[in-house]
C-alpha cells in the first residue's frame, strides 16, 4: 500500500510504499559500463531479501513499465531494509534524465537522514580480457570520506573524468555537504561483467558492514551475461550519447 507521496520537485515524484528507516546508507546501482551497478544491485536484492520501499514516478521518463508477475513497476525503484536503501534502474537512463533523477533521489535520501551515499559501478579497461585480478577504485565527495576509503585500502581515482550518474552524485553531494563515495571495479566497457560486480560488492562490504556471498554471482556469470544482453545494448546507446569514452581521456588541469 502506498503510504505517502513526496514531491521532490515539479517533475519527479518519489512514492513511498513502506515506512522508510532513517540514518541508513543509500546505494545506487544504475546501468553503466559492464552493467556492474545493476548486476551488483540485483544480487544484493536477492541475497539480502530487500523489499521495494519506494519508486520514482515522472513524466520525464520514457513511457516504460517493468512487468513482474503481471503487475506494473516503475523502472526506477528503491529497495531496502533497516540498514540500507538501494536505488536501482532496470532501464538505461537517457543522459538528460540523469541530473533530475539523481538530484531527486539524493534530496529524498537527505530527507531520510541518509548517513552516506554510495554509488557502485565500473571503470572500463581496454585489456579487461587479460586481467586476472580486478581492482576497485574510489572517488569521494569530500576529503574525510576520501581518507576513509584510503584507510580501507581502496585505491583512489586521483585524476580523470567521470561520466554518468555517479558523476552527478559526487558533485551534488559535495555541494550539499553529504558524504558520498563512488566504488568502481575494473570492467568491460561494452559487455555485462558479473566478475566486476562481485569485486565491487566485496569492497562495498567494507563500507556498509553488510557482507554478501558472491559465489552465486560468479557461478551464474554466463547466465547473467546472456540475460543482460538487451539491457547492455540499450545502455551502450546511451553511453555513446553521453560521451562515456571521455573517461579514457587524460584531463588538462587548470590550477
Amino acid at each position: 500500500m502506498e503510504r505517502m507521496k513526496i514531491l521532490n520537485n515539479e517533475e519527479i515524484k518519489i512514492i513511498e510504499r513502506k515506512e522508510i528507516p532513517k540514518g541508513t546508507v543509500m546505494l545506487f546501482g544504475f546501468p553503466d559500463v559492464g552493467l556492474v551497478g545493476v548486476i551488483a544491485a540485483s544480487h544484493l536484492i536477492s541475497e539480502l531479501g530487500l523489499e521495494e520501499v519506494a519508486y520514482v514516478d515522472s513524466k520525464l521518463l520514457p513511457p516504460i513499465i517493468v512487468l513482474h508477475e503481471g503487475l506494473p513497476h516503475s523502472p526506477i525503484r528503491i529497495f531496502g531494509n533497516h540498514n540500507i536503501l538501494l536505488a536501482v534502474s532496470e532501464t538505461a537512463l537517457q543522459g538528460e534524465l540523469i541530473y533530475p533523477i539523481m538530484h531527486a533521489l539524493i534530496d529524498w535520501g537527505k530527507s531520510k537522514e541518509v548517513k552516506m551515499m554510495i554509488s557502485i559501478s565500473g571503470i572500463p579497461v581496454q585489456d579487461r580480457q587479460d586481467l586476472e585480478e580486478l581492482k576497485v577504485f574510489a572517488a569521494a565527495s569530500d576529503q574525510n570520506t576520501l581518507k576513509m576509503a584510503e584507510d580501507k585500502g581502496v585505491e583512489i581515482l586521483r585524476e580523470g573524468y567521470m561520466v554518468g550518474p555517479q558523476a552527478v552524485m559526487l558533485q551534488y553531494c559535495a555541494t550539499l555537504g553529504l558524504p558520498a563515495i563512488t566504488l568502481l571495479a575494473q570492467c568491460f566497457f561494452q559487455y555485462p561483467d558479473p566478475e566486476a560486480a562481485a569485486k565491487v560488492l566485496e569492497q562495498l562490504a567494507n563500507f556498509t558492514g553488510v557482507k554478501v556471498d558472491v559465489s552465486k554471482l560468479l557461478e551464474k556469470g554466463e547466465e547473467i551475461r546472456l540475460k543482460a544482453r538487451d539491457m547492455m545494448k540499450r545502455t551502450q546507446q546511451e553511453l555513446a550519447r553521453m560521451r562515456k569514452t571521455q573517461e579514457y581521456d587524460i584531463p588538462l588541469y587548470i590550477t
Binding site: Q129, D130, R229, M232, Q237
Partner: protein, 150 residues
Amino acid sequence: MSEESFKRRRSIFDLIDEYFESLEAWAERVTESLLERPSWNCRTCTIEPLRDVMVTSDEVIVTVDLPYAEQNTIQVKPVGKDMIEVSAKMRRKVSFDDFGITHHRGEFQRFHCRTKIPVPVYMDRMEIRFKRGILEIRLPRKHEYEIPIE
C-alpha cells in the same frame, strides 16, 4: 540587394555544416533503426551476441560476447571483403522460460551475427582467440596508399 536579404543568404560554410549535421543525424537514426530489432530469432533458433569493433592504426579488432559457447564450434567466416560472420553452438539450450518470459515460445542453442568491417583489411590474415567467453578477431589493416611526408 538590401542588407536584410543579404543576411538571409547563408554562406557556403553554413550550408556545408548543415549538410554534415543532417547527415550525422541521419546516420545515427539509421544505426539505431538497425539495432531496433529483437536480439533473438525464433525461426533460426539463434541469439544475436553483443559485439564491438575497434579500429587501430594497424588492425581492426572485433570482439564478440559468447557466454555458454562451445569453443570448438566457433566459426568465423569472411563474407566478401568487408564483413565477417560469426556463429557458435551453446553448451545448453536456452528458452524464453529461462528468462521468465511466457508470452513468447522458442529455444535457442546457437549464436549468430554478421559484422561489417569499416576499413579495408586482410581477411586471410585474421587471428582469433577465445578467452573469458569473449571471442577476439584481429584483422590487419590494408593501407592502400600512403602520402609521403616531405
